[in-house]
């Protein structure tokens, strides 16, 4: 048994560990942090990847007794900067909403490997992404969307605007339809050719517009409306045709 102090996501823990105890065992069983998953227990799959001083390591094979010299251990638990979907780190949000996982057991490890990759290479090529993530196995085989997620996250981290492939379900107030943040789509503001008579005329129009297939979100007033639509189902011409159909053509 050995006494050791571990700094995990900026929190210092004073612990007594078995000499044979891995970092994963300490974090999972002694501390109950649920911040890392085990896949093979022998450094062959990368599911347990966490960062130690910025470098991705297999937590199942790093011995806790060997740490304790102030190394900074970073896991997924330390990435979010605020609550909810909006507070997630771009990498977390992208893996979720771009479908970078199915069962998710490998995801905590992939996220930390991606943190390391994008920290070193903010605009990686496909080959660089593959090399950077070659030590993480996804048995569900979701590599296609892992590429998507990493690219989207990298773009957002470089300050670009991004959209995601799917929406999360955001539980709303009863009776209110909302579109969740991050839904993929194309947005445009339209000016009505003829403004509506009153703002009260706008509400039923908005309700009817939202029910059309492919329309993702609607907001506006009696003079203009901003519409977001699914580019797989509609284009601008079709949206304009819908507006004509509803009696409020756009300019």
């Amino acid at each position: 048994m050995r006494r050791v102090a571990l700094t995990i996501d900026n929190v210092k823990y004073d612990l007594v560990v078995d000499n044979r105890e891995s970092l994963w065992e300490t974090m999972n069983f002694q501390l109950g942090l649920s911040n890392s998953n085990l896949g093979c227990d022998r450094a062959q799959c990368g599911a347990c990847a966490v960062l130690v001083d910025g470098k991705a390591v297999n937590g199942c094979t790093v011995l806790s007794a060997r740490l304790g010299r102030g190394q900074k251990i970073a896991t997924v638990a330390g990435l979010a900067t605020g609550p909810g979907v909006a507070g997630l780190h771009p990498i977390q949000r992208a893996f979720w909403l771009d479908g970078g996982f199915q069962c998710g057991i490998c995801t905590r490890g992939f996220i930390m490997s991606t943190v390391q990759l994008l920290g070193a290479t903010p605009k990686p090529t496909t080959a660089e992404i593959a090399e950077g993530l070659a030590g993480n196995i996804c048995r569900c085989g979701e590599y296609a969307k892992i590429f998507t997620a990493v690219n989207t996250a990298a773009a957002e981290m470089r300050g670009e605007k991004v959209t995601h492939l799917a929406s999360p379900v955001v539980v709303g107030t009863a009776g209110v339809t909302e579109t969740a943040p991050g839904a993929a789509g194309v947005s445009k503001e339209f000016q009505f050719a003829t403004p509506m008579g009153t703002i009260e005329d706008y509400d039923p129009f908005e309700q009817a517009l939202k029910k059309r297939d492919g329309i993702l979100s609607v907001s506006g007033n009696e003079r203009s409306v901003t519409i977001k639509w699914d580019p797989a189902k509609l284009d601008e011409a079709k949206v304009r045709a819908i507006l004509v159909d509803l009696g409020h053509a756009a300019r």
Binding site: D18, R20, E21, E25, N28, F29, G32, L33, S34, N35, N37, L38, G39, C40, D41, R42, Q44, C45, T75, V76, A77, L79, V85, Q92, R93, F95, W96, L97, G99, Q102, C103, G104, I105, R108, E131, L133, A134, G135, N136, I137, C138, R139, C140, G141, E142, Y143, A144, K145, F147, A166, S167, P168, V169, V170, V171, A174, G175, T177, A180, Q207
Partner: protein, 825 residues
């Protein structure tokens, strides 16, 4: 009541005939039977045809039989991310492996190192002295009540601790200790005396009558089962212009679910509580209830809702789960059992090794005259069936007027077979589709045209059950169009793209029996007094998003936006009803039907109570108008209105408050059995084959699947993308080996049995074909498993097109390809 042996019912006609009505009801409760119905429907088809009226439902169903027409979909068909997503990408989601409890002890299992042996003695005295060792359990000190407990079908009987063991990894003793490290040390301190017995380690050797028998079977030797051949027409006399022979072989594969099998058990008085990595909560409950001789309501199974998948190998329990429960009872402490990767690889189940002997007679005009197909499967150290699960595409996919199908399941002292994503169908597709290409090339016909010419689009020719709106032609033609087949396809070895490197293109079609329903199909939809909605379902999510889909179905059926509905990620058998196991690609359809029926039930109540409320308000206002439920509608915003006057509307909250108690929609649905429910698909790929190094690079991959109706296209694309990667692993790198001298597993680890990494993975383009079915939910047909079928023959066929050699032995390693190239020169 004696335990009914599920596999024996299927393989032993006399045993099946001897069952009483009580026995049939007991069998229907057996999770092993339920899993066979879901995953291996071909195995049980004969029994159900003969004895179906003795099973619950008696072959009847609650279903209408026309293809459902629904209101324009509002929720179904949208791209929705996983409800568990936030928990997965942060530390707030807990997988079973993340769980711990105060006072928890860790379990370790000492296992046999011999494939066939008698345990003469066990001495645990030294191990028990090790500090931190709390209890050691073995055959000698197993409580009396558990000594006759066995799992699965008898022969070789798998008691909790066998005196005679039939596989490497059979449990001999289990240890409860303060840590896994102490348990490991204790394991090594236990002394076991073995009498080593001869083992059958080779599938073909084991079929011989000279191989020493380990138990009685229906053939001399160790073969455990020969399925009665299926014969159609007159295959032995049928004539054909060209006869093509093909021997196709597949190696043993394993699921390699990344969350190692693990469980956490504790007792609450006389009630067992277990959180366990499983694909069927109520099935696990049944299994433990049988093993521990407890009534089902004294067993509680919990699923956290976060599961590192399963791919078919954890629908039920194995011996370790019973051991853990008993250890917990004896020590009075929670027991955590984490399998090592070695244990998970070796002691759980596998897709077996197969050998297929195929003979196809074709005419020069492209018509198929006859097929004689024999499938041999190595089911390992157990009584099981796997071979005839490869038959269904051979029966159903093409018009083959004269057909003979044979199936032999061989027992060896080796890896036990069990369902692994698509079960035996990848083998059936591999065997048939490589044979089809061989035949096409033999008569100089385009492989796509050859298939289209012979497609069967009617139904099962032998049982006469019809397909419902089959989309196989669409799958093949759309994939061919997407990959530019007509302009890209060329003669074999005709296109060298770089010195020694040749381009090839190949395709394969797929049909399997997965994706539609079995029973039960239940659920509840609850509308609370504030109008918020709860979907309650016992459906297990194994990572494909089943619970997200359940929520979508409930919302659509009720007629409200998705964000008014919640569903828990977790499942607790104490407060959900059974919808069967998440296996057989059935769950979105079957559990979904439970949600659908419950949602419709709730909706009907909403309309009725809304009408009552409108009428009450009219009466109060002295208005003469009266409405019935038929005059009222819901518009997917949570509003309920009178169709003739939409200004008269109520919120869901108002309706529920008028009723004064929650609205509860319920379902208990039985699936129809009158359809031939098949999943259909076609894949195509372009490859570059390097004749110097023997490597194959996939340069393009396209996959089309008929899903009936796409509930969540986002998840559907994932299933196909992921399945192609998973199946391609078995094409190039994956095979589980044993040392033929000792029977020891050679490569049960992730370096020597290598799933594909991001560097190797083909990236499939996915085409979703929607041909709504008359069964299931919203016309849908599931597809978790079907993507596993086509990759092997697609790639093998493309390699042939590239370099003119057939390598029909999986995996297609470099040395095999180079040897085949050398032999052809």
């Amino acid at each position: 009541m004696a335990q009914i042996e599920a596999v024996r019912v299927v393989q032993d006609a006399a045993y099946a005939a001897s069952l009483s009505d009580q026995d049939w009801y007991a069998l229907a409760q057996d999770p092993a039977w339920q899993e066979m119905v879901s995953e291996q429907s071909e195995m049980v088809a004969g029994v159900i045809a003969q004895y179906g009226n003795k099973l619950p439902g008696g072959g009847q169903s609650s279903a209408p039989t026309e293809i459902p027409v629904f209101r324009p979909f509002q929720v179904i068909g949208t791209d929705v991310a996983r409800i568990q997503g936030y928990g997965i990408v942060t530390n707030t989601g807990t997988y079973t492996e993340n769980l711990r409890m105060p006072g928890m002890l860790f379990m370790r299992t000492l296992r046999s190192r011999y494939p066939h042996a008698k345990i003469k003695s066990i001495d645990t005295s030294e191990a028990e002295k090790i500090p931190g060792v709390r209890k050691i359990l073995h055959r000698g000190n197993l409580p009396e009540e558990y000594k006759d407990v066995f799992l699965g079908s008898a022969l070789p009987t798998r008691f909790l601790f066998n005196e005679e063991v039939f596989e490497v990894g059979a449990p001999i003793a289990v240890i409860a200790a303060d840590s896994e490290h102490i348990g490991d040390v204790a394991m090594r301190a236990i002394k076991v005396e073995y009498e080593v017995l001869p083992a059958a380690l080779d599938m073909l050797e084991a079929m011989k009558s000279s191989t020493p028998k380990q138990f009685t079977s229906n053939l001399d030797g160790t073969t455990i089962a020969i399925t009665a051949p299926l014969v159609r027409g007159d295959p032995t006399s049928a004539k054909a212009d060209v006869v093509v022979d093909n021997v196709a072989r597949k190696s043993t594969e394993q699921h390699v679910a990344l969350e190692l099998t693990n469980s956490l058990s504790y007792w609450d008085g006389d009630k067992l509580n277990m959180t366990y990595t499983n694909q069927h909560g109520h099935g696990t409950r049944s299994g433990l209830s049988q093993a521990l001789k407890l009534p089902q309501n004294k067993v509680r199974i919990f699923q956290t809702g976060y599961l590192g998948s399963g791919y078919g190998y954890r629908s039920g329990i194995d011996l370790s789960e019973a051991h853990a429960a008993i250890l917990s009872k004896l020590t009075g402490r929670p027991i955590k059992n984490n399998y090592t990767r070695y244990e998970d690889f070796v002691t759980r189940t596998h897709r077996p090794e197969f050998r297929n002997e195929m003979k196809l007679g074709v005419n020069r005009d492209g018509t198929i005259s006859f097929g004689i197909f024999k499938v041999i499967a190595n089911v390992g150290a157990q009584r099981a069936g796997a071979a005839n699960g490869s038959w269904v595409n051979m029966q159903d996919l093409y018009k083959i007027p004269n057909l003979r199908l044979e199936a032999v399941d061989v027992m060896t002292n080796s890896y036990k077979s069990g369902p692994y994503r698509c079960v035996s169908h990848p083998n059936g597709t591999f065997a048939l589709e490589t044979t089809m290409d061989k035949a096409a090339y033999a008569i100089n016909m385009d492989p796509v045209e050859f298939r289209l010419k012979n497609l069967n689009e009617v139904g099962n020719p032998d049982t006469k059950k019809p397909f419902s709106n089959p989309g196989i032609r669409d799958c093949i033609t759309q994939v061919a169009t997407a990959i530019n087949w007509k302009s890209v396809w060329h003669a074999p070895k005709a296109k060298q793209v770089r010195p020694g490197v040749y381009h090839g293109i190949g395709m394969a079609a797929h049909l399997c029996s997965h994706g539609a329903g079995s029973n039960p199909s239940t659920g509840q939809v609850i509308i609370n007094s504030d109008g918020s909605v709860q979907a309650v379902s016992g459906v297990t999510d194994i990572g494909s998003g089943q619970r997200t889909n359940m929520m979508m179905v409930a919302a659509e059926a009720l007629g409200v936006p998705l964000n008014l509905v919640t569903i828990t990620p977790y499942v607790d058998t104490d407060n959900t009803t059974d919808s069967g196991g998440t296996n057989g690609s059935r769950m979105t359809n079957t559990g979904g039907r439970g949600m659908y029926e419950a949602g419709v039930d709730a909706r009907n109540q909403v309309l009725k109570y809304a009408a009552d409320k409108f009428n009450t308000d009219f009466a109060t206002a002295n208005v003469a108008t009266r409405v019935t439920a038929a005059d009222v509608d819901m518009d997917n915003t949570g509003s309920v209105f009178i169709k003739a006057d939409k200004t008269k509307k109520l919120t869901l909250a108002q309706v529920v408050q008028f009723k004064a108690t929650s609205i509860i929609g319920k379902s208990d649905y039985l699936q129809p059995t009158n359809w031939e429910q098949v999943a259909l698909a076609a894949h195509a790929a372009e490859v570059e084959v390097d004749t110097v190094t023997g490597t194959v690079k996939i340069t393009r991959y396209v996959a089309a699947h008929d899903v009936g109706k796409a509930f969540n296209p986002f998840s559907i694309r994932q299933q196909v993308e992921g399945g192609v990667v998973m199946a391609t692993g078995a094409v190039f790198t994956e095979e589980l080996l044993i040392d033929k001298a000792t029977g020891l597993p050679l490569n049960p680890n992730l370096l020597d049995y290598r799933p594909l990494s991001i560097k190797d993975a083909p990236l499939a383009e996915v085409i979703i074909v929607e041909k709504p079915k008359a069964y299931g939910t919203f016309g849908g047909h599931g597809l978790g498993e079907p993507p596993m079928g086509p990759p092997a023959p697609t790639i093998v066929n493309a390699v042939y097109n590239a370099v003119g050699v057939w390598v029909t032995e999986m995996p297609l390693t470099r040395d095999k390809l180079l040897a085949a190239l050398k032999a052809s020169n």
